[in-house]
């Protein structure tokens, strides 16, 4: 009996000793408070017209208890959770330029419509030099504003890996019509203007000035409508 007691104690110790070690390890394995999000400046300055939202700057909220799940538990890939200030800056620049593109496009429609309106008196048999000059000037203004509009669209940054989907595809496709049209129309218009000034009837390729201008204006209008209203 006396000999067996120490052996029994050793056996019990072998059974219970791991628990003594596991207790602190279990305490360490309990859900840790999630790390705070990387230091980022607060969001962009809000519009002064907006009322104050009931909010605080976003950081990863520390769970109030150990049972609260954390973002780490959800298993998002790192690239989906990490802030990307460079991408945000690129998006900001892109939006800024495309807003100017939108505004300039809308402004361009005014002289464009005026040019179309004055084209009625610029051609035909009985036209005065004044009517043709007005049409020419409005066309020139339209061309300049169109060029500025196109510049902001072309120079707006692209977002890598983005596949173009939706109405914007039609909007971009129309450019293949109105861009060459806006180059050809003034060239043909200059030829027609010269022939008219010589007292000649507009003939040859110069006679295409009108149809090319109409197709160009149509494509421009379709491009504008495709991003303005829902078809």
């Amino acid at each position: 009996m006396k000999a067996r007691a120490p052996k029994l104690a050793v056996g019990v110790a072998a059974l219970l000793f791991p628990l003594l070690i596991a207790e602190p390890l279990l305490a360490q394995a309990a859900p840790q408070p999630p790390p705070a999000q990387p230091d980022n400046p607060p969001a962009a300055t809000p519009s002064q017209n907006l009322p104050d939202a009931p909010s605080t700057t976003q950081t990863e909220s520390k769970p109030e208890s150990k049972t609260e799940p954390s973002l780490n538990d959800l298993g998002f890939p790192t690239e989906q959770t990490q802030p990307d200030p460079k991408m945000q800056a690129l998006l900001d620049k892109r939006t800024h330029m495309l807003k100017i593109h939108q505004r300039m496009g809308l402004i361009t429609t005014i002289p464009l419509l005026a040019t179309l309106f004055t084209s009625v008196n610029a051609g035909g048999k009985n036209t005065s030099n004044t009517d043709r000059n007005v049409h020419l000037i409005l066309g020139a203004v339209t061309g300049d504003l169109y060029g500025i509009t196109a510049y902001y669209a072309i120079r707006a940054p692209r977002v890598p890996g983005t596949q173009t989907r939706g109405p914007i595809r039609f909007h971009k496709a129309m450019a293949y019509i109105h861009v060459p049209g806006m180059v050809l129309t003034p060239i043909l218009g200059a030829m027609a203007y010269s022939e008219k000034n010589k007292g000649e009837k507009v003939h040859g390729i110069a006679s295409a000035h009108g149809p090319v201008a109409i197709v160009t204006a149509g494509a421009f209008g379709a491009a504008l409508l495709s991003v303005s209203i829902k078809f």
Partner: protein, 184 residues
């Protein structure tokens, strides 16, 4: 005598080791499926963006459950890539990539057909609190389907309302939530 002392010591150690094991969570829930839909109103456009990329987890302990749901901002698809990029820009989605929703519910709520939850929503670098948001619960076997609408607004998150043809969108951007939870 020595053996008895040894046994007493180890027995005491055994008792002391038990409490940490007893604090494990009673039950956990995992988000199985999700459909989150935002709605934006404009005089010329009604737009919806949908995401199925939300992930969530719920931990229940002592009759109280803590839920966390998160969804990447850029996972929302409105059918127009240009609009989606503008959405990410205006919501500062590259800087704050996730929308998170936290809520606490009593464990007994799973037996109800409707619940009213207080939500803490983090979005665009801001946190907004929504009280008593109504959700419907439908049990589908062991799973629970929860549907409801979060009455979010652009002003809650200090988001400048985008505009089209000089007309801004409406401030209200309700987010319809349809999620399926399963016990883990």
């Amino acid at each position: 005598m020595n053996a008895r002392i040894l046994i007493a010591v180890f027995s005491a150690a055994f008792v002391l080791a038990l409490p940490p094991l007893a604090t494990a969570a009673d039950s956990q829930w995992v988000l199985d499926q999700s459909t989150l839909t935002y709605h934006v109103s404009h005089p010329l456009h009604q737009t919806e963006g949908v995401s199925h990329a939300a992930r969530g987890k719920g931990v229940c302990h002592d009759g109280q459950c803590d839920f966390l749901i998160a969804v990447p901002v850029k996972s929302f698809d409105s059918g127009d890539s240009n609009r989606d990029l503008h959405m990410v820009q205006v919501t500062r989605g590259a800087q704050f990539p996730l929308v998170t929703v936290r809520t606490k519910l009593p464990e007994s709520a799973s037996a109800s057909s409707t619940i009213n939850a207080d939500l803490d929503v983090e979005f665009a670098g801001q946190t907004a609190h929504y009280k008593q948001v109504a959700f419907q619960l439908v049990k589908e076997g062991a799973q629970i389907r929860i549907t409801g609408t979060i009455p979010a607004t652009l002003a809650d998150f200090k988001i400048d309302p985008p505009s089209l043809l000089t007309m801004p969108v409406k401030n209200e951007i309700p987010i319809r939530v349809e999620i399926l939870w399963r016990p883990q």
